[in-house]
Subunit: 457 residues, 2 copies
Amino acid sequence: MADVATALANVVGEEHVLAGDEVPPEYGRDESLGVAAERPGMVVRPADVEQVAAVLGVAAEHGLPVTARGSGTGLSGAAVPRPGGLVVSFERMNRILEIDTDGQVAVVQPGVTLAELDQATAGKGLVYPIFPGEDGASIGGTVATNAGGMHAVKEGVTRHHVLGLEAVLATGEIIRTGGRYVKTSTGYDLTQLIVGSEGTLALVTEVTLRLRPRLAHRAGVLAPFPGTEAVTAAVPRLTGGGLDPLVLEYVDVLAMAAITENAGLDLGVPQEVRDAAGAYLLVILENRSAERLDEDVQTLGEELAGLGAADAYVLAGDRLQKLVTAREQAFWAARHAGANAIVDAVVPRAELARFFAAVPAIAGRHGALIGGCGHAGDGNVHLSVFQPDADALARLMDELLAAAAGLGGTISGEHGIGREKTHHFRALEDPAKVELMGRIKKAFDPDGILNPGVLFG
Amino acid sequence: MADVATALANVVGEEHVLAGDEVPPEYGRDESLGVAAERPGMVVRPADVEQVAAVLGVAAEHGLPVTARGSGTGLSGAAVPRPGGLVVSFERMNRILEIDTDGQVAVVQPGVTLAELDQATAGKGLVYPIFPGEDGASIGGTVATNAGGMHAVKEGVTRHHVLGLEAVLATGEIIRTGGRYVKTSTGYDLTQLIVGSEGTLALVTEVTLRLRPRLAHRAGVLAPFPGTEAVTAAVPRLTGGGLDPLVLEYVDVLAMAAITENAGLDLGVPQEVRDAAGAYLLVILENRSAERLDEDVQTLGEELAGLGAADAYVLAGDRLQKLVTAREQAFWAARHAGANAIVDAVVPRAELARFFAAVPAIAGRHGALIGGCGHAGDGNVHLSVFQPDADALARLMDELLAAAAGLGGTISGEHGIGREKTHHFRALEDPAKVELMGRIKKAFDPDGILNPGVLFG
Ligand SMILES: Cc1cc2nc3c(=O)[nH]c(=O)nc-3n(C[C@H](O)[C@H](O)[C@H](O)COP(=O)(O)OP(=O)(O)OC[C@H]3O[C@@H](n4cnc5c(N)ncnc54)[C@H](O)[C@@H]3O)c2cc1C
Ligand SMILES: Cc1cc2nc3c(=O)[nH]c(=O)nc-3n(C[C@H](O)[C@H](O)[C@H](O)COP(=O)(O)OP(=O)(O)OC[C@H]3O[C@@H](n4cnc5c(N)ncnc54)[C@H](O)[C@@H]3O)c2cc1C
């Protein structure tokens, strides 16, 4: 190991190699509830692509497993290293290289956070429209997990905004994929292959992102519904109607209680309405014109009433922002309340009702409490599962994820497989496909040094 | 060969195997100007995925090169088979299996044409928003080339609408990728890898597509500009301004003369305006409300005037449709006029002006005439090159495509590499990337039977 440390120090400088006991414990974990922290052997903090390539050269030579690390906010244990392995942290590669206003493109290093990019684009009338609940997440991490978030129903997910990459293969080769153009038919789309690959194919050292015009006006409507059935019936009407909602979130009563309490939030919904509510829908609209927004909010209110909402509370400005923030922190609220697992399943939008109907039965069978919220417009459901018994929890998760897959859905919409769901991935995905993925992995990383244990288990 | 024919007849029935002289010549060509027709040894017309798998089994056993064929409207020779090889034509797999209105999803067989899908979705208030110039193209062909078209500036290209695939590998294995959901982070995105792979990775037997609401109102504005410089300066203002144009096409005076003449079209632009025009911009807006559309057209007109347009002619209904159709047929107009090659380069939007400035110089150096039109909003330029001398044409194409690549662009935006551009692909793309693509190809098709000669040459 001393050899390795010296070789790495020669690449990045001694002060950017941490070894053994010097390694702060946060480099061994992410925010997953189900994956225990590990102690990496070393952490290295490269400053540029050449250093990353040289670091991978050293790792390859010594057969050292390598785990890339962005901000460590992932929810599936994908940034948890191998015990004794090498963590490549992108914290120093944190520069916004360019914001091209005319081209509507940003070129950034992987360590830039979403919050930093949002601040930099705001002044230029542009926005990078990926807003997962955690704006401290890095661009590299969001690319590697194909992060989604609340705006996905309108704007799509990370992969729809990544135009090009610079990346280093396990062999130390540097490749450039895509570019500052929104369309191409020039060979296999390696950009899209690397997006969502959770650090198992290549290390991303630069990202070219598509930006969108930042619209000036935004308003939200919070609608209590008698129950989840009415909510799920409303969703396709709202996505198909042409109002093009920016946000279409479902929050069940348990989750709503937790997040409003956690944030100390009063939404102005009277007690008797809250008592009668079975679930809430939060719809946010955006427009470049304030007048059109007002009209659309009006139309939305009428549509919601027609779809069985008990009422519709218009939220704007500060109050809307507070609810959005509280919703984004649903994960912390759930963790604070003692949740033992977070589900990130996706089902076809038309199957949401069936999935919601299945959940209480599964909870009951395994003596668990399940509450949740989610990106209803995308069929992406986040459930917090309360069942402290590990065996019962495992059986419940098996059943829950199998139910999603059985409805034509899949086990992760945006958090990734990581180390947490490899077993479900193998159990529920088409074996021919998983085998093919293994062969693709080999094409990138013949010796399997990049994030072993993630995805394939 | 008799053995093979018998084996194939056992799979698909004798009437669906054509061999030797029975093979109609159209199975040996597509619409590329630069790739000569070939005579395949056999054509087979499977009826379902099992037959496709069995056909590939036969081909693999006999080491027979296989070229998938949709409608044969491709512009890069990607559907031109190997001499003596096997063509798998998807003409019989032409059923729309489902249009799920609530899920906004269509499930179709690959032989369905864009025109057929458009007709089927129209009645349901939905649209599959991919409109390349040729609506006889098949879904399988458009998936394999990642087709774009005029609406891409707003709606994106084929890959943004393909949610899932069923496909057969060269080994005869059937895989299913993705599903009826708009987001997933469940392993490598094989759907996106197969999209744009031009029949070299797998044969696509079923496609799940994302549909969008069909908006009721549409209007266009045709703006003559003094020259291409003013046009290219206008483009980023129009894409960044929030009007969200559905179409943003540039047409130079040569192309405009050819397409209006070819279609016998009078656009009501006075002779003196035409004489002074250096280039045209066609902008189409869409809205669910007629009033808002009117307002937006007004705003657009003012913006265009501010950007230096000589005038702005509002076109709606029949007149707009006629111009769109005429523009779609620009390829036929160019071919009719004797064009020797079609360019499909992409450059970063912000580099369009520089590319346009380079073109006349390149044309001059090689004694050619070059006219064109293109998807200006995407930086995707279609040029018709008139230079009958093959050597001069080859040198010109080398220089033109290198110019696009040199500006940070790439050699094909939507037509693909096919057999036509393999040499430019190898010359201009990152060699490390091309090698990696070769390894990925091997992961899918170890013996290289799928469309050899395409992409890799
Ligand atoms: C409160 C909270 C709310 C959240 N809400 C959402 C949500 O709504 N939607 C959503 O999608 N996610 C959400 N997340 C999850 C998390 O924010 C995302 O997964 C995010 O993408 C992780 O980014 P990161 O920089 O922290 O990545 P990390 O956790 O550091 O790493 C994640 C993966 O990316 C890899 N990686 C990191 N950098 C690179 C690189 N440069 N090259 C190659 N691989 C790399 C790692 O190896 C690992 O596999 C939430 C998390 C929290 C804590
Ligand atoms: C007048 C005109 C205008 C055009 N305008 C545009 C335009 O604006 N934008 C644009 O993008 N294109 C345009 N094109 C090109 C063409 O329409 C597209 O390339 C289209 O995608 C080809 O579809 P096809 O069914 O004809 O495919 P084919 O030509 O039959 O095949 C194309 C490729 O797809 C493969 N393939 C076909 N079916 C399958 C399958 N089931 N599985 C795997 N591989 C398969 C073939 O092997 C080949 O590699 C235009 C063409 C014409 C003639």
